[in-house]
Amino acid sequence: MLSIKNLQAKIGDKQILNGINLEVRPGEVHAIMGPNGSGKSTLASVLAGREEYDVTNGEVEFLGKDLLQLSPEDRAREGVFLAFQYPVEIPGVSTINFMKTALNQIRKHRGQETLDAVSFLSVMKEKMKLVEIDQSLLNRALNEGFSGGEKKRNEIFQMAMLEPKLAILDETDSGLDIDALRIVANGVNKLRSKDNATIVVTHYQRLLDYIVPDFVHVLYKGKIVKSGGKELALELEAKGYDWIKDEVAVA
């Protein structure tokens, strides 16, 4: 589904990704872990199409398309979804209107009929249950004044609405208490299927107790330096990241 080859990217003069290789197939959950500054969020941003980053080398193929050639909105329409580490507050734009616009533009792109207000609301109500989000929150301006947990829940709600093929969760666990973490993880798990894939970007192992990965990759200095199964996450939790750094230094 997603094939990343030798991906290199920089922001300004600073080289951050130094040749990432990653294959993601439908149904899989990949965790990307690594110390701060290793390039985890950059990878997520580059995949979603954030413009500040310059891709200097490499290629990314998503469902047969050259992902790097697509605008952020077209990536979303093709089925990429980024759950933001810091969801943006947008005063004056109501969450419901925003979601209706987004969903209908995506449906149009996919050749599906757009939803009228009534059918949109019924879809919305169904998805709200998944992430235990209250409608009063969605009646408000997008993320404005939301708590950290509410913002992250809203991200997963949007993911449920847009039904992406590839979801990238960027530090979705940061700033969440254990209850909010459980709700968010439950939502993600309910959305998992054999047809879609998830990339979980995280610093801590905690989230992976709830969203169990098939593969764990350790990113360090812009490269994947180690890959393994879910037990690698536990090892990292127990031993920290220093032994990885030492291994890289020896090599």
Partner: protein, 435 residues
């Protein structure tokens, strides 16, 4: 010597224009004479005048107008400019001249008197002269002097005590400049009685490609416990000098809304004098500019007595090579303790060629007050734009959503639904918001 003599002096040209267009009523002769003298003494403000530093009104008048010409008579059907679906009193002015046949007063005489100012002056000179020229300052403001000396006509509104006027008063100024330049000088007088309430809306439209300059002065006095809602919609291709001087008495409430969507050079002076206690005043403004429009909002609120509240929010979006100017003065006089006065001005610049000059000016002589001001100028938030795009929303749609949201915040303060709907449509139209 000869070079200087050949240079055009617009003050002289306008003074001659005033002489030819002098307000003829003997009932206001002394005001007319004083104002003429003031104009001659003051002269038109040039770009060295602090209050006009960013607004080249002298140059605009010099470049675009020939003051020896008389107006072409207007011949236009104003129907296309009227706000549909509002049950209202309607007054139409075409090229500054009151058009009886297009006007319609539906409110009962027990609630409100609405006539042209010239008519009111003839019918009830004592009442009119007791107020006319008593609020707007023609001693220091050359445009106000020009107006006082040579106003052609305008609207007179008198709401007696304890009358709530249900239907709003809509004043349409339509400039027909298809056949040549138009210069209009109009004057309005609003007297709102004790415990009364009225909503007034003025709207400016134009047709044709010639130049137009509208000098409109509105004087309002709002008595104890009275309420005035005043909307201005400038959506034409003319240049404007628009002065509103509103005097408020104890416990009165005033809400002003100033929307500038088009124009050549627009200068709005909005002055509120809070001459009482327990007063509440809200000033809202929105300027959505494009092309080479210059829109300048100078506002002043003068707290003269204790325990009053004023709040101001002006927002602007400047596109292409347009320019916005905001100057907000707040005066709190020594005896005006326990004053609350707030001011905010927020701007978005969409291009490198657009600009805004914003200046808060607070002068506070009392010590037990709460006052704040803030201004922001920036571009559209790129991170927010990316957020919307990352959900599959096209960049242009995302941009429109954000600009609309920025502008529409002001509409939340409008209590008249029909007017709010109309303005909402205008704003949506500006951003091509279709979703």
């Amino acid at each position: 010597m000869s070079v200087i003599a050949a240079e055009r002096n617009i003050t002289h040209d306008v003074a001659a224009w005033i002489t030819r267009n002098m307000q003829p009523s003997p009932a206001v002769r002394s005001l007319t004479e004083q104002a003429t003298a003031s104009f001659n003494r003051l002269g038109l403000p040039g770009n060295k005048t602090e209050e006009f530093r960013h607004t080249p009104i002298y140059r605009t008048l010099e470049k675009n107008f020939d003051f020896s010409l008389a107006n072409q008579s207007g011949d236009i059907n104003p129907a296309e400019f009227l706000i549909a679906g509002v049950d209202a009193n309607i007054l139409v002015f075409i090229n500054g001249v009151f058009s009886q046949k297009h006007s319609l007063v539906i409110s009962p005489a027990s609630q409100i008197t609405i006539t042209s100012l010239a008519e009111a002056l003839a019918a009830n000179p004592e009442l009119v002269t007791a107020h006319l020229g008593k609020y707007a300052d023609h001693q220091t403001d050359a445009f106000a002097a020009w107006n006082a000396a040579s106003w052609k006509d305008g609207v007179f509104i008198h709401v007696p005590d304890q009358a709530v006027v249900e239907k709003p008063v809509l004043i349409y100024h339509v400039s027909d400049k298809t056949k040549g330049q138009v210069i209009t000088v109009n004057r309005n007088l609003l007297i709102v009685g004790k415990g009364s309430a009225v909503t007034v809306l003025e709207k400016f439209d134009s047709k044709g490609t010639s130049n137009c300059f509208c000098n409109v002065v509105t004087e309002c006095t709002v008595s104890d416990n009275g309420e005035l809602n005043f909307y201005s919609i400038q959506d034409d291709t003319a240049s404007h000098y628009n002065l509103k001087q509103i005097n408020q008495q104890d416990n009165s409430r005033v809400n002003t809304f100033t929307f500038t969507l088009n124009g050549d050079l627009v200068r709005n002076n909005l002055h509120l004098t809070l001459d009482g206690e327990g007063i509440e005043s809200h000033m809202y403004g929105l300027y959505l500019l494009k092309g080479s429009t210059i829109a300048d909002n100078h506002t002043a609120v003068d707290h003269k007595k204790p325990n009053s509240f004023s709040n101001e929010l002006y927002k602007g979006i400047m596109d292409e090579s347009s320019k916005g100017v905001f100057n907000g003065k707040i005066y709190v006089r020594p005896q005006a303790q326990k004053t609350n006065a707030f001011q905010a001005n927020k701007n978005i610049l969409l291009t490198n060629a657009s600009a805004v000059n914003t200046k808060p000016q607070l002068e506070i002589w009392a010590d037990d007050v709460k006052c704040s001001h803030g201004c922001t100028t920036g571009q559209l938030d790129e991170e927010a734009l990316f957020y919307l795009q990352s959900r599959g929303i096209q960049k242009e749609t995302a941009r429109a959503m954000m600009l609309y949201a920025f502008a529409a915040e002001l509409l939340q303060n409008i209590k008249q639904p029909a007017i709010a709907d109309y303005l909402d449509k205008l704003i949506r139209g500006r951003f091509n918001k279709e979703f």
